[in-house]
């Protein structure tokens, strides 16, 4: 075995391998809100409120009690990254799909990407655009 590069006294780590199967507590969803006519501004709190109301409409109080976090929100593009506990992914997704309007203006959520790993959302190969 080679000498340690860092010159530290500790012994080098022995090989260890752990496989985590379905261990992710949360799922992450990248969404984008679209309005039929533009010019609608929405701040982060209203955005989350909209998601909660969608959940409440489809899945009731139980659905509205799901822990949903808005990790990032961009007001300009109305896009956000949501975090939801894994057992609530289907509920959240279905609620977002069936949301039709915000303050009587027609809108739709587009789910761009979803993953059990937050890191995966930072590198979407489908967004690689060359011209």
């Amino acid at each position: 075995m080679a000498q340690l590069g860092g010159g530290r006294g500790a012994t080098p780590a022995a090989f260890e391998r752990i496989v985590f199967k379905n261990a992710s507590e949360h799922h992450y969803v990248k969404v984008c809100l679209e309005f039929q006519e533009g010019g609608v501004r929405l701040n982060a709190a209203h955005f989350k409120q909209l998601i909660l109301s969608a959940l409440k409409e489809l899945h009731g109080e139980v659905g509205a009690a799901l822990p949903v976090d808005v990790l990032t929100y961009e007001e300009k593009t109305l896009s956000a990254i949501l975090r939801v506990s894994s057992s609530g992914l289907v509920k959240l997704w279905s609620a977002l799909t069936l949301l039709g309007s915000y303050q009587n203006r027609k809108c739709a959520f587009r789910v761009i990407q979803t993953s059990p790993f937050l890191l995966a959302l930072s590198g979407n190969s489908r967004e690689l655009i060359l011209d």
Binding site: A2, I18, F117, L130
Partner: protein, 485 residues
């Protein structure tokens, strides 16, 4: 001869004295043979009077509180003749009237038990609502200089990478050596409308595939709906096609692992460097005919060629007839100020409470950093409750560099080596990370294991290199993927 009656004595939850029980189940009464209704009445009264007086009279002897334990024992089954005069009430349903008694199988009234037993199972429909597709995260730890360390092999076997990013805490300016590696990441090419048969011609195989590592991947094809193809540096051409194309193509393949009961996708693998694939062989002619005449397939290809020799831009000259564009990987830098970093111990892959964070927590945190997620939320904040895993330290600045393009594993190995060299000089940082994202739409992930999209198509890995050159490697795949090597 009167037929015998099986009597079920008091069972669960009945708080009645056994003598009172027959009152409520007249069809189960263990009476003596013969006797008239008057006898019955007297018998009932006789049975009832003492028990009722017991019950309602003095508290000391009463059947109160936990008295049910006295009667809650296992049913005693006694054979007794059934009184011929006793009829079952008409209001009971026929099956009830027939009575378990006459048939001879004693039956208990299970009261609370059935609810509990059913509570264990959730119905399929409700369970589906909570299920998510399978995903795997493999964590390994070892030492970079360990002779049996497989980190380079892991990197090499992951052929198609679309984004590489590395994070160095406590770093303001990148060292020159690292900068050189980044600027020398090599260009890649986009060839539009390239017929697939061009890749199996002998000219191509001899100039590129056999002389170095040639990487090709179809661009803008979705693995779950379109046809796709990929050329691995080992010389294997993998074509993933839908059922219709496969049937037209006339090449031998195998059904996709992830297509379920009704196969809708097939994988054709052709080894271009195989000795049986020389120019005059039947196999070569067949493949050429299938891809050229039978079912011409055309794709936009991402191409890259890594060779140790000196020949440079031959890909451009080779494909000059087609539209070929050279692209440089896009590089972005950012310096993150006052970043909360988790504390890691290289020996504690699973973390230790109050001392260090686990590999999983780090993986999530890294995702948060790369996505520019706020790390300082409170547990009561409305928008988000995500915060940095504990214990953590605040670093003044951290250097995050992201390279996007069609990146070869060889370059990633170079970068990893340079990151290890970063610790040659004493540095403040305890560790650095290197994250590599694979293409979600490539037909393979690691080695030649099949890759599908399902919900995310994620295949990525992340190195954490510690100051002592121990490393952690985390490999994550989504639902349609084999376990990483």
């Amino acid at each position: 001869m009167p037929s015998p009656v099986w009597v079920t004595a008091p069972c669960h939850g009945i708080q009645a004295p056994p003598t009172l029980l027959p009152l409520f189940c007249p069809f189960f009464i263990p009476f003596c043979t013969g006797g008239g209704l008057s006898q019955l009445r007297q018998l009932l009264l006789r049975m009832l009077t003492p028990s009722l007086s017991n019950y309602t009279g003095s508290q000391s002897r009463g059947y109160t509180g936990n008295s049910c334990s006295e009667f809650g024992r296992a049913p005693e089954v006694t054979a007794l003749p059934r009184p011929p005069f006793l009829r079952l009430p008409a209001c009971l349903p026929p099956s009830f009237r027939r009575g378990r008694g006459a048939r001879g199988s004693p039956r208990c009234f299970l009261v609370g038990g059935c609810c509990a037993a059913r509570g264990l199972r959730m119905s399929v429909a409700l369970r589906r609502l909570r299920e998510t597709p399978r995903h795997l995260l493999v964590c390994e730890k070892s030492h970079v200089r360990h002779e049996r360390s497989r980190h380079a092999a892991h990197v090499r076997s992951h052929a198609y990478n679309c984004r590489v990013s590395f994070l160095i805490p406590e770093c303001g300016i990148l060292p020159e050596a690292l900068k050189r590696v980044i600027t020398d990441f090599g260009e890649y090419y986009l060839v539009k409308n390239l017929s697939l048969h061009e890749l199996v011609t002998h000219e191509f195989i001899n100039t590129f595939v056999k002389k170095g590592s040639c990487y090709a991947l179809t661009y803008n094809t979705k693995i779950d709906q379109d046809n796709a193809a990929a050329l691995l540096p080992t010389g294997k051409l993998i074509i993933s096609v839908d059922k219709d194309t496969y049937e037209e193509l006339g090449l031998q393949g195998r059904p996709s692992q992830y297509s379920g009961r009704k196969v809708m996708r097939y994988i054709v693998t052709i080894d271009l460097t195989d000795s049986a694939f020389d120019p005059d062989s039947k196999k070569h002619k067949r493949v050429l005919w299938a891809l050229k005449e039978k079912k011409p397939l055309e794709f936009d290809f991402l191409l890259s060629w890594h060779n140790t020799g000196a020949e440079g831009s031959t890909l451009v000259s080779y494909f000059s007839k087609n539209q070929i564009q050279a692209h440089q990987p896009k590089t972005t830098f950012s310096t993150l100020r006052n970043l909360q970093c988790p504390v890691l111990h290289s020996n504690e892959l699973q973390g230790k409470l109050e001392e260090s964070c686990s590999a999983q927590e780090l993986f999530e945190w890294l995702g948060a950093v790369c996505n520019k997620v706020g790390l300082d939320n409170k547990s009561f904040s409305f928008l988000s409750t995500y915060c940095c895993p504990q214990p953590s330290t605040v670093v003044e600045q951290a250097y995050l560099c992201t390279i996007t393009g069609f990146i070869l594993p060889e370059k990633i190995i170079q970068l990893l080596e340079q990151l290890c060299c970063y610790f040659d000089e004493p540095k403040l940082a305890q560790w650095v990370t290197l994250t590599v994202h694979g293409f979600a739409d490539s037909p393979v992930s690691w080695r030649e294991s099949e890759h599908g999209f399902q919900k995310g198509g994620e295949n990525l890995y992340n190195f954490v290199v510690f100051r002592s050159l121990d490393y952690w490697l985390q490999m994550a795949v989504g639902a349609n993927d084999d376990c990483p090597p």
